[in-house]
């Protein structure tokens, strides 16, 4: 059987329409930086034009909010609080029990089971 494991981590959803041009605000970016994880950033929505119509200032380029390395996020929600437009939602993963890692098919390295039974050392 193929085994897939997904490391639980929060996900940030951005309503890009409500957010508008992110670079004019960046309150969530600053809030996440000040909180510690520094998971929120911004990038251009698409590469700007080259030539005569090329933007002369970074602020003239449309930007959107992005997130990365969300394993460092503890879900404090400061980014959501900081957004003046209600454009951010933070989706927390369902709480999960620790996974047992099977090292050998006949031995499971998890010594105390839920009912208190010790699987090691064996009495018999």
């Amino acid at each position: 059987m193929e085994y897939t494991h997904i490391t639980p981590r929060p996900v940030i959803h951005v309503d890009e329409e409500a957010c508008g041009n992110a670079i004019l605000c960046l309150k969530c970016v600053k809030a996440c930086l000040e909180a510690g994880p520094n998971c929120i950033g911004f990038m251009n929505t698409e590469p700007p034009p080259v030539g005569e119509n090329a933007p002369q200032r970074l602020e003239d380029i449309p930007h959107k909010i992005i997130s990365t390395v969300m394993v460092n996020c503890n879900g404090c929600g400061k980014c959501v609080e900081a957004c003046p437009k209600g454009a951010l939602t933070l989706e927390m993963p369902e709480p999960q029990v620790p996974t047992v890692r099977v090292q050998r098919s006949d031995i499971i390295f998890c010594f105390t089971l839920r009912d208190g039974t010790k699987t090691f050392p064996r009495d018999d």
């Binding site: 494991h5 950033g41 990038m43 090329a54 933007p55 390395v69 460092n72």
Partner: protein, 279 residues
């Protein structure tokens, strides 16, 4: 030496092999696409865009080999830590001038802007100035200025890393040197958080401590400890010495100048047989 040096080193390290700095590589094969994106108007979509999809690409933190392969084969961009002496040799291998520009990881994640990306190819300057006119803070450096910059980064505690523009059959093109810390550099975070090897490979060296010298030295407050970005330095309050874990060391050499007693040196990574596959 890792696979890059075995295949593209020509008897030395890949980033010290003059063959990899040939002008024809700049416009050939897989290199051209990465060069075009990094030097031109698509840079932001390319580098921050790649960061923005990392979480989707690494669902399982314990298995990120596919992301590692993707970085090398599809994105065509990855780094390796180099110590100061190799960074200076790289500058010597390149033609002037150099382009020193902002650090995307810092600028686009809200941190204070500092100029930390040193582009090695004179051709980059022309494209960057033409296609990204809003980046007015970039500076153009001579060879001497670039070397002074490397030395200054070493003093301040920014590790040097050399970044390639794609691995292809004709070579691996050294494109840019970054000077950052694991706290700010997103690819280095990919390495330390997700274990993505090709995001930031370990250097060709490891640090060693002369324990006798160390014992006579700092005692309670080791001056080197804060310089390590990778948690490879461990302090023993019993012996009052620093130990360096060769399995965790990235070989950046930043701990060396911090030691007032000259107790730390870099040795070739190959002196530890166990590190043959640890990059």
């Amino acid at each position: 030496m890792c696979r890059y040096c075995v295949e593209y080193g020509g008897g030395t390290k890949w980033y010290l092999n003059p063959d990899n700095y040939r002008d024809e590589l700049y416009t050939s094969g897989a290199h051209e696409a990465t060069v075009k994106m990094l030097s031109g108007v698509q840079k932001n979509s390319f580098d921050v865009g790649a960061m923005s999809i990392a979480d989707e690409s690494a669902p399982d933190l314990y298995s990120t080999d596919s992301l590692s392969v993707g970085m090398e084969q599809m994105i065509g961009h990855g780094g390796q830590v180099v110590p100061l002496e190799d960074a200076l040799k790289i500058i010597d291998l390149c033609r002037e001038p150099f382009l020193l520009m902002h650090c995307a990881c810092r600028r686009y994640f809200g941190k204070t802007d500092i100029l930390r990306c040193l582009y090695l190819w004179p051709q980059v300057i022309e494209t960057a100035l033409k296609e990204r006119p809003w980046e007015k803070d970039s500076r153009i450096l001579s060879k001497e200025e670039a070397k002074e910059f490397e030395i200054d980064c070493d003093k301040k505690g920014f590790l040097h890393s050399i970044w390639h523009a794609a691995v292809d059959t004709d070579g691996i093109l050294p494109m840019v040197m970054c000077h950052c810390t694991a706290t700010d550099c997103i690819p280095t975070k990919f390495r330390v958080s997700y274990g993505v090897i090709n995001a930031q490979r370990k250097g060709e060296y490891v640090a060693e401590v002369d324990l006798a010298k160390c014992k006579e030295g700092c005692k309670e407050y080791p001056a080197c400890m804060h310089r390590c970005q990778f948690g490879a330095m461990r302090y023993s309050p019993v012996e009052r010495v620093m130990y360096i874990d060769p399995q965790a060391c990235f070989g950046c050499g930043l701990c060396r100048p911090a030691c007032p007693y000259g107790a730390i040196k870099l040795v070739d990574r190959s002196s530890y047989p166990s590190l043959v596959d640890n990059w």
